[in-house]
Amino acid sequence: MSSRIEILNDGGFRSDGRRQYELREMTFDMAEQAGADGSASVAHGLTQVRVSVFGPREAKMRSQTIHDRANINVEVGIAPFSTGDRRKRSKGDKRILEFASTIKSTFEPVIQTALYPRSQIDIFVHVLQQDGGVLQACINATTLALANAGVPLLDFVCAVTGGVHAAAPMLDLTTLEENDLPHVTVAVMPRTGRVTLVSMETRLHVDRFEEILRLAGQAGGVIHKEMRAVVRERTKGLVDAMGAGVRTSDFAEDAMVADS
């Protein structure tokens, strides 16, 4: 059915009016969620994901502790109403388990786990709406939630999806496009420009793959700028609010003592 819709028309527009390299609107929301140590909501177009981070904290199960670093636990929930066909996925669904394990192994080397021996960091991912690029949204939201929780990270991890339509590469696919096109999700660490995650499940020629990989790497940089701006804005907001409260001489003195 979807093949009836033109993916990329002669004028160079996609089905939702975007150009080939145009990303959808991104919304990064770092407002606090009561109870969580850090949380973030991310939307790429109509795809929407919320992530809460708890920890580092005492491990719930002692058998899960690792003597020299923190254990990372990722749980993914996909809301039944997130797709067109309302379907409840069980917790043991292999696809969801793989998804969680992908997020876990992506962040394991990025979080400085060695600073927190025997602790646990819980990452709860909730997919609220799906319209393509779910993995990309989950990775970006997890990065922001971890930054929000003050968990030390080596770098941001910024993910984006790329696809190819008849030799024409495009970025940030919707579900409609994902169903029809081979697509790759790439996550980059912007400081070094290296890719930490590459995930592809559809058939694609090696030469096309190369093109997309490079393109997605660049797009990751663009997303990074946006994410960084949001983190900075939030940090600045908190610093300003705290600065406003500092006026009693008594406190200032104490703050100096504490800082030195």
Partner: protein, 293 residues
Amino acid sequence: MRPPSPSIPEKEFLFSTLEKSLRLDGRGLIEMRPLELTFGEELGHVDCTLGKTRVLAQVDAKMVRPLPERPFEGIISVHSEISPMASPEYESTGRPSDEEVALSRMLDKVIRRSDAVDREALCILAGQRVWHLRLTIHCLSDAGNLLDCACMAGMVALRHFRRPDVEVIGDEVTVHPPSSRAPVPLSLHHTPFSLTFALFAPSSSHTNISSQTAPITLLDPSLLEQRLASGTLSLALNAQRELCVVHKAGGVPLTPEEVLSAVNIAVQKAKELEKMVDARVREDWAMKKIEVR
């Protein structure tokens, strides 16, 4: 009781040898362990060994009613399970282990999502009768890189398998036993091979993963290499230079060039594997004298 993680001397020795581009079993960095395929009595039964890693794959087909939403397509199902017999690493607990999830998802992607088998060719009578192929993967022993071995076994089993010939006259389906008409091979679009690279962070500081120098990449990791690696890159591709699966989650970050160079190595390996698998399957078919006429 799970065996403990490798000791410090093992870890340090492995890292020091890798810096010198040596491997403990004498292989080159991008050399695979010898692959051996042993075919069973029946068609579609293969025992695949990669060094000491061993996987048994078996295919059978039966006639079923197609799924209502796909009346013109046959059904393919893949069953895989890592039992504790493969290695003391695996325990039989309720929830599937990470390895098990990774394996069954990889098999699903390599065999089903990549469209390896022509499903429409499995249709006998539209909406009425189709072939249901069942591929069962038994992991007998894990000495490292079980993933590639299992995918290889599964694909070879599908290549080796032949289904009985059928004849459709009107609404009547006649199945010819192998004794009267030679069974027909499955129609495969392509044969993807899974190739896994283990990645090791360069230099002695293994905590610092974002260093500038290139990481050490090696193909077909052994058990020890796999356990000590800081990340893996799994590719599945066919001899026609088409990638079907790329899976790299975390681990050492790579530059796009490093990813592509691994892909290029894999392209070469896939071509060699294709040649070898093709020859072995034909050889076995010839030996079994399947053709009746």
